[in-house]
Symmetry: D2
Subunit: 228 residues, 4 copies
């Protein structure tokens, strides 16, 4: 699934299922999954149990499912992503291989976006005109070019890769795999799909959300209903 | 897989593979899995990379695989098991459903076992005779019976389950699911298959080991060679 | 601070403070703690920031404080406590030293308690009379005595400590130290002070709460106001 | 403690002590700290127990001490640091406040350094001359200047801070507080003081090491002896 100008999120694999989550929960009373539909003594079926667990924050059963994603995103997005310490990460390292010349340039529409960003993260007070926004996007793109020119020069002159990378901008794309259980992915979505999250990580969170929804439709539907 | 007199360990599911571990590791240089056999520039194939990572404790890639087990074991075994805080657990609760009358009675051979236990955990100095060992096993079994009699009586008289359970012995079987990534399962095995681990958790660790070896044969083979 | 019939919770040490939490939070904008009272540009002072963080679940700053407790509690209480996997635990082991003959016997009032326990954890339907409750408490105490008699017999006959302990009841007291940061302690309190938590762990959580309130009065006051 | 050209590491506070670690360990047998010097039944004193725990990787007691540091370091150093997921971090955010114009420029000696870096992270094969190294350092410094010029221009034109930051290089200094228990700090040192760690994070790890050694002299002395 493509994200931003050069990024993507791909599902590598998932484990568990909505049914497995019920199975894990039923360990506490010695049972398993029966049926999503109503059955003897459970007028709402196991769908009722799933909802009960979600609404009462019985979070452990949601640790019995999970997913691995492969992600290409700008470094500043990864910097926020890596705050989620219950995930496992394996990322490209510019110590070992030069990072390809892929950099995130915001669109003019994004540059003019209002309200997506929190007040603090917003502009310095001025309101951008269309022309100013175009100019800013070009300025960023040109700076990336100058940086890449310097980066390549340093590498060609024999500067160690681990030092040549110092000039790389946080708008440069990197790549990683990230693995987490479903409980943690949902905590990630809660923070990173929130209105005050930065647009650029929000679009990645949206992609993660949609792929999780295919694998765990009932759990993600409960998540979509809102808190907790 | 049966363990002890009434216990078991069953694999519920696993994710990842030896190949996926290589894929995760190759994120750092932007590649994937190629071949376990030798290939251009890699005289030992990706088997060489797997060994290198293992021997140099590059542990993160081993977090990109994992397994879920269903386990029935005595409470004192679970008490040690639950010290592994990177695992997810969902266990039966005697607050909600009475625990079935299944209790661990050591065999006479186990009772006479030497050296398996560390010195500190060992006997008070005396050496058990065959007759004494038989007597001890019977004593334990009889105590379980008396406890069960009391437990049932309390429940029948209307004592809340959460209080009736106070008398249950730590030799009583409970049941749970446990989920962890492969890095953590191997850390579990390292501690719990060690000679100074108590025999009863060691046999569970052995069962976990054998089921992991079927799913991740190359990684577990490296583990079996020894440290780290 | 004494808890139940033979238990206690003592504060070993704490680190950080309400002020340190503000300092950690201000890292994001490059400042420090100023004043709890109003000041230039902050009409609610740093008290306003603390409240904002709490209400918006900005949890990380609360990881920059913490506390270590020494606790003596029944094993079934520790079994619930140890589900909090972000804490560090160091507990007495009956493999290495026999556990002293201290066991939890509920009071008759506790035995008759209504509503504290969740419905599922409650009685089997019958309603206990005063006499039945007394009888149940005596029955539990007598079972403990029988178990202790067997336990001592096994030890005296030279049965390894790690096997003699099999008969010990989950009502037996054990002892541990537990360390966690403040964010985690508050998550512990949220679950374990809840009305549906079992009475016996609730009284321990209450003791932890009161000692934290002395060290972190402003943060605990926010916690006491309610969610999140 | 100053590190690199504009960085530092300062100890904010620590908790626990070598003695507290012994106390935590003695929970398992029901005792406390006695004496570092020999005493009845302990010919090596509690120094012997500390060594035993260290050498046998009984790691839990080392979780009962810890430290908080305030750190200013280049972003690429923080990127490696943040892989240590058991630490708590609170970092400056360029979404909320522009990052000051402080950037890491390697010295010529560092640029010419051999062997510190692993082979893979090293040069592209060429060997730098003194003149080339000087030229590279100047090139990096000049690129920083151009980037800062662009960054300020974007901010002045009203581009949101969260987008203006895209051009910032990973050589830019940021600031954070980091909190962890001693077990985790020693794991950090083991990886980041290793010969194949990048020089720039190694000097930070050295500073952390020296400050820990003042607070926990006996534990750090064992660490310094080597594995594990």
């Amino acid at each position: 699934m493509n994200v931003l100008d050069h990024g993507f999120v791909n599902l590598v694999e998932s484990w568990g299922s909505d049914e497995r989550i019920i199975e894990a929960a039923r360990q506490s009373v010695g049972g398993g999954f029966v049926s999503w539909a109503p059955y003897e003594g459970h007028p709402k079926g196991d769908a009722g149990l799933l909802r009960y667990m979600w609404e009462h924050e019985h979070a452990t059963p949601f640790e019995f499912a999970g997913a691995v994603f492969e992600v290409r995103a700008p470094i500043f997005v990864f910097r926020e992503w890596h705050r989620h310490r219950v995930q496992a990460f394996s990322e490209a390292s510019a110590r070992y291989a030069p990072l390809p010349d892929l950099n995130y340039v915001p669109t003019v529409e994004r540059m003019l976006q209002k309200g997506g960003a929190s007040r603090q993260a917003g502009s310095t007070g001025a309101t951008l005109t269309q022309r100013q926004a175009e100019f800013a996007c070009e300025g960023i793109a040109n700076t990336y070019k100058d940086i890449q020119y310097e980066y390549e020069g340093l590498l060609e002159n024999g500067v160690p890769k681990e030092l040549a990378r110092l000039v790389l901008p946080v708008g440069r794309y990197s790549q990683m795999r990230a693995s987490a259980n479903l409980r943690n992915w949902l905590a990630f979505l809660k923070l990173r799909q929130a209105p005050n999250a930065q647009h650029e990580i929000r679009v990645y969170a949206n992609a993660v959300h949609d792929m999780l929804a295919e694998k765990f439709p009932r759990t993600v539907a409960l998540f979509d209903e809102g808190a907790p």
